[in-house]
Point group: C2
Chain length 263, copies 2
């Protein structure tokens, strides 16, 4: 179970969650994508808007219906649990529940081994929804735009991962960082990339959840096709499989799978 | 008082709030920028990190200190009220306060006529902090990245503005939409721009808070200098005043001021 998260807005979480899920499905893996953002962009991206708001991750989290009832099949190997704006209320409603960060994990227990991968698309915050994803997940994937402000948020992010690992989910690890909207013609991208490499290398000696985290070699370049695909309600692969966006997410999938197999 | 808001992440709210504030200050206006994002990127962008977390907008909102005590002078005409990660707690703490959306407006009453412009940099959500900004503000400025997912969030945004205007702040109006990270070589940007123009034109006949909203002719082009400036703790004008980023924000300021004077 993989939480695709970053509290910084607009760094490519949804685009990565959707296209990695689709890429893994194309490789024959059974994948379920769980949209945890009240803005429901992952759901929109895959052309899934719940016919009525009654069958989304929100109803699952407040305990009204079991998760199997809201799973929507997108293609042979890819399913999604859609979100809805009602989910915005859950940040407050769940805030005072006992064990409020465990709710998602418990709700997904019934999925057993049905999927090879479950991916969570998180909203741009470190609130209750993201904490639920971190508590349910085995690993975290961090999409990051190589800009200065992104680096600043990075250390806060690690701190939250550390807290969740310490108090709620001891096996949580940061799988890696994938650079998105990468523009290699800019000095800034190269500087941020090298700062991250240095940091991750130093941390190999520490006993921390990101001890074995990688900075993926595959980078997702800026490619307008990736921004157009959501308007067709499909992943990049159905929209334009010859685009750089498709090529980059396939390369990323390959690297991701090889890392998964070596751990 | 101008709320720079958009619940979509990473569309240029902070970059616009900071650089419009700086541009207005350069034109001789007295400006106060209020950082309402727990991630404190506007504060970081202007090189203002509170020496200790005790003097930020958070303390003002929970009623511990008056706002004049936390104002930090950045330059002759530009001041900032910085944020701090503690502000994340206020989404929950203020949630159950009576009149919770009025707190910021009341806290700023003491600033009287000291500033020509007060700008709010909002976080990527429609939670308590953004609602406070909408309730305190006279006008809303919407930075928008011309992508498909941005259009989808736009109607939800208008709905929130409508509710605040109906229940809490009858004089609230949408001043306009400024397109950010604009790449005019892409079909997508041109399509989104034209969809917005058509929409705003139709709405001129309606009695709605966006009846007179403009789609600014000035567009902020993608320019790496705008992403580099925060690492120097200054606006684009101190960092690289010859850049396209600086030129675009100056053009935007001029158009903004001419609209302000005609209403
Ligand atoms: N590599 C890319 N090239 C071009 N556009 C991209 C790329 N990746 C994402 N986009 C577009 O940039 C915008 C932001 O991306 P996305 O929505 O995936 O980020 P996010 O981190 O999920 O945002 P949020 O914080 O709002 O959830 C979207 O309009 C998306 O279509
Ligand atoms: N026109 C531009 N050209 C290039 N980079 C830009 C431009 N505008 C903003 N950026 C960069 O893009 C990233 C996102 O912008 P910014 O932080 O201003 O958006 P935001 O809407 O405030 O994000 P959030 O939702 O996280 O508050 C930042 O790293 C910023 O430096
Ligand atoms: Mg998203
Ligand atoms: Mg911001």
């Amino acid at each position: 179970m993989l939480a695709v998260m970053n509290q910084k807005g607009g760094v490519g979480k949804t685009t990565t969650a959707v296209n990695l899920a689709a890429a893994l499905a194309l490789a024959g893996k059974k994948v379920c994508l769980i949209d945890l953002d009240p803005q429901a962009h992952a759901s929109l991206h895959l052309g899934v808007t719940p016919k009525h708001s009654g069958e989304t991750i929100y109803e699952v989290l407040v305990g009204e219906i079991p998760v199997c009832q809201v799973i929507s099949e997108v293609s042979e190997n890819l399913s999604i649990v859609p979100a809805h704006i009602d989910l915005a209320a859950s940040e407050l409603e769940l805030a005072n529940e006992i064990g409020r960060e465990m709710i998602l994990r418990d709700a997904l227990a019934s999925l057993g081994g049905q999927y090879d991968y479950i991916l969570f698309d998180c909203p741009p915050s470190l609130g209750v929804l993201t904490l639920n994803a971190l508590t349910a997940a085995d690993e975290v994937l961090l999409p990051l735009q190589p800009h200065f402000l992104a680096l600043h948020g990075f250390s806060k992010l690690l701190h939250s991962i550390e807290l969740v690992a310490a108090r709620l989910n001891p096996t949580l690890r940061l799988c890696g960082i994938v650079l998105c909207m990468y523009d290699r013609t800019t000095k800034l991208a190269l500087e941020v990339e090298s700062d991250l490499k240095v940091f991750l290398k130093e941390q190999r000696q520490q006993n921390v959840p990101w001890q074995e985290a990688v900075l993926f070699k595959a980078k997702i370049r800026r490619n307008i096709r990736l921004a157009e695909a959501p308007s067709f309600g499909t992943s990049i692969f159905e929209y334009d499989k010859r685009s750089n966006g498709a090529a980059d997410y396939l390369a990323f999938r390959e690297e991701f799978l090889s890392i998964q197999q070596s751990t």
